[in-house]
């Protein structure tokens, strides 16, 4: 983002209200304050980076994803790359990048353009560490977001797919029905693998299923430079990009079906019994409910097969109208039958179940696969839900004084425009400084298809309010200084002192996100 540009807004086909529907007009606003000095520069992006993003296309309105790799030279130039795209506009295609450019400010915010035969893709990016970052598309072609991570070229071989990976793929089946597949596979280093999975296809859960013949083949053209290959897992075809010895990015190529996600190598001693898994975990999930989109997350404590200390938020699109109060905090009633298991029938897979019943809200059922004793992917198998996400062990006791510093965020969800009824995805990427009093000041770039509009360099203000020991629900409110302004309300759950999951509680949008300290 160029801070010299006071405020740019690119309206799409229709200029209407931003952010949850009030008023009419183009999205303009107060420009973001000058960036804080930080450790980043163009030199931060030097090497090949595997990226993945998904969202909603502006023209077709359909779900799409792109997974690929770009090479950055550390001086602002993209020297090459390749991507796989699966979209209703073009089907499933592979597109090389002929070039591009990027610019990174010291606070980690920046811009990235990638050129392929369809034109120039434009992204806002945010470095969250020396090796990885977040990105969101801002060229108006889609509302989409994702992330990128530096690759290790020495691992670009199927011989390195020789350990056990946990994967989380989500998207749509061939009928555009929401689908989630989570599971584990073990590569043999020779291009083969076996594993187990749980498929929730349109709220029909498969239960655990074994698959015996996954295959991985490197792309002879793009494999050596960019880590690209093709795979078949349980009968589904994917393009994949090796990040390093412990992570592979996948996107299904069976258009119009589309699943996208990562596989992460298991590490540590994976528990084989409930007794071996304990601690408090922060969760975040998103997907679909009978009512529409769904965002769900919170905190639970696991010990000896019993789930306790449940505090979650659920926005299942069941409410509407004006307001900012999530109608369904969990628990809403009394909790019973709160248990978890680590599946002994597939020992070593890290598969487990987590369930509880809220006397007012019903039964919640989840499947998880452990990446490590403190990290898992999680799938919602509650009746009428298709959703998935992440589960991380909590650590630390956050305080406002300790949390002060510079943070980046990525939020994604869907919103409806109260004036036009326009409905669609929205993706926000921003960076701010948090004071020791909990005050937020920074900037955001976003695309909002319900407007529809793209806005960049918009000032944000807000507050983080830590409740109790900070390990449960915390208050988090961010005001977009657009004209008219819009305020987004969240519940925030700390993973650790450097990471929060946030779940939107407004009634006109369903949104989740991750907030991470970026320096």
């Amino acid at each position: 983002m160029n801070r010299l540009v006071l405020c740019s807004s690119l309206a799409l086909a229709l200029f209407t209200a931003a952010c949850g529907g009030g008023g009419n007009g183009a999205i303009t606003g107060t420009p973001a304050p000058p960036a804080s000095a930080g450790p980043y520069s163009n030199a931060s992006l030097n090497g090949t980076f595997a990226f993945q993003m998904s969202g909603q296309e502006t023209t077709s309105g359909g779900f799409f994803a792109r997974v690929g790799s770009f090479a950055a030279n550390g001086a602002g130039t993209i020297t090459g790359g390749v991507e796989d795209v699966n979209s209703q506009a073009v089907g499933s295609v592979i597109l090389p990048f002929s070039g591009g450019s990027y610019s990174i400010q010291s606070n980690g915010q920046g811009t990235l353009s990638l050129i392929n035969q369809t034109g120039t893709l434009q992204f806002s990016i945010l470095m969250t560490s020396a090796t990885s970052g977040l990105l969101t598309e801002v060229d108006g072609g889609a509302s989409a977001s994702g992330n990128f991570t530096v690759q290790t070229p020495s691992t670009f071989s199927v011989a390195n797919i020789n350990t056990s990976y946990v994967f989380d793929f989500s998207g749509v089946d061939p009928n555009n029905v929401p689908e989630s597949i989570v599971g584990q596979f073990t590569g043999n280093g020779g291009g083969g693998a076996t594993g187990v999975l749980d498929d929730n296809d349109g709220a029909v859960a498969s239960g655990v299923s074994a698959f015996s013949s996954a295959s991985f083949t490197m792309d002879t053209t793009n494999g050596p430079s960019f880590g690209r290959g093709i795979a078949n897992i349980a009968g589904l075809n994917f393009a994949f990009y090796i990040v390093n010895g412990s992570k592979i990015r996948f996107m299904e190529t069976d258009f119009p079906a589309l699943l996208v996600g990562d596989a992460t190598a298991q590490s540590g001693t994976i528990p084989t019994t409930a007794a071996g898994l304990s601690g408090s975990f922060a969760l975040v999930m998103s997907g679909a409910s009978l009512s529409g989109s769904d965002a769900r997350g919170g905190r639970v404590t696991l010990s000896g097969g019993v789930v306790s200390n449940i505090q979650m938020d659920d926005n299942a699109s069941s409410a509407s109208g004006s307001g900012n109060s999530n109608p369904e905090p969990i628990p809403s009633g009394s909790i019973s039958a709160a248990t978890y298991t680590v599946d002994g029938s597939v020992p070593g897979s890290g598969r487990g179940t987590l369930t509880f019943t809220d006397s007012k809200l019903g039964t919640f059922s989840f499947i998880f696969y452990l990446i490590s004793p403190t990290q898992a992917v999680i799938q919602d198998n509650s009746a009428g839900f298709v959703s998935d996400g992440s589960m991380f062990g909590q650590s630390g006791s956050p305080t406002l004084a300790a949390e002060a510093g510079n943070w980046g965020f990525s939020w994604a969800g869907q919103s409806i425009n109260g004036t036009t009824g326009g409905f669609g995805e929205e993706d926000f990427l921003g960076q701010y400084k948090l004071s020791s009093a909990g005050a937020i000041s920074g900037g955001v770039d976003f695309t909002e298809l319900s407007a529809p509009a793209v806005a960049t360099n918009i000032a944000i203000t807000g507050t983080l309010s830590i409740q109790g020991d900070g390990t449960g629900r915390n208050g988090y409110q961010v005001k977009l200084n657009t004209s008219p302004s819009a305020t987004l309300n969240f519940s925030a759950y700390f993973v650790d002192p450097n990471t929060m999951f946030v779940i939107g509680t407004d009634t006109h949008r369903t949104i989740t996100g991750t907030v991470v300290r970026n320096f």
Partner: protein
Amino acid sequence: MKRIMGVAISSVSIGAAWLAGVFLLPAIASAQQVPPSLRSGYSPDREVNLVGTVSSFVSDSQTGPLGAHVMVQTVSGLVDVHVGTAEFLKARNLTLNTGDSVRIIGENFTNGANTVFLARVVQKGTVAVAVRSPHGMPLWLAGSRGLKTGGDKGNGGVQ
């Protein structure tokens, strides 16, 4: 895998459903019992056909679920029907106006203090649009599975 087992949306015949003889009955009659909550899941066994006339259409209803609602006047009374989003219907050449005759396949649910009929298939004249899958999952969301946030997509924000 369920995908391979292949339950296609298009496999449900609207005509067959009508011929099954379950005209209306729905909403009001079953509302006299208490409909299940939205969290109980959608059951194809509970589906009914709603036949009536559009009383009003709102693209951003003030009552949940989020999105477009159509009030349908049936012989048994007025029924609040959630039909996804106006954009989704319009993109499939279906607009709902006051006075239109409609047939809707779906189920009745309790949503808080209200009762709402979730449409799976909306038919006006010869145009029929599936707005939900056979098990009730929304088809209008498009990017909803991209809801996984930039940070959470691939756990990239937490590395």
